[in-house]
Symmetry: C2
């Protein structure tokens, strides 16, 4: 345990820990119900843009760029709270969605559960 | 949109999509309250071990190996449900924790929120 990781775990300074790809994990839960809406990655730009605008931004690995959630659909996520984990390499965004979160039109990207080896629809 | 991604999004087959490092994102929420407990990564072995045992297993990037949560502490996570996202590169484990989830002794790894540029404790 280095001083740096002590500080990350117990301190009050926000020191996001990006991995070798410059990313950390970001989970979006509905601010009221905690229903999981989506999971993505953020780089330093996405973290900064989210904090500045109050709207969830991510790093799109497939497109290799900053991605404002809802930039084309209008279905933005208004971030009400950001939770930070022990080693600061994962964030939970408690957010209020404007419209469906999933690009498929589903309320949440997690619209299926794994049961008996197959995927089944879940009610959102 | 390829047929493969169509099948991933709409089909009933479990086709987990691992990234270039062989990993996907795994989020653990408390089965009753949906309080976020931890975020980690799974490789194919971790997915298989979790399904076989009903206990959460992950891939430790720092140790480079399969990691059964609670293997040293005894604080295992009993998985009650696995949710799968649209493109099958993220899983949500709805789990019942035996003991604190965080290695710091906290109930959840998400024991701080970012507010006004600083981290503050949250009640768990």
């Amino acid at each position: 345990m280095t001083n740096d990781s002590d500080e990350r775990e117990t301190g009050s300074a926000f020191m996001p820990k990006f991995d070798a790809q410059g990313l950390l994990s970001a989970v979006v839960l509905h601010a009221d119900t905690r229903v999981p809406l989506m999971v993505a990655f953020m780089d330093d730009k996405a973290v900064a843009a989210t904090r500045e605008t109050g709207l969830a931004h991510f790093h799109s690995r497939s497109r290799g760029r900053l991605w404002k959630k809802g930039e084309s659909s209008g279905h933005v996520l208004r971030v009400e709270k950001i939770l930070v984990d022990c080693d600061q390499d994962a964030l939970v965004l408690m957010a209020r969605p404007e419209g469906p979160t999933c690009h498929t039109g589903a309320t949440s990207c997690f619209y299926r559960k794994l049961e008996g080896g197959l995927l089944h629809s879940v009610k959102s």
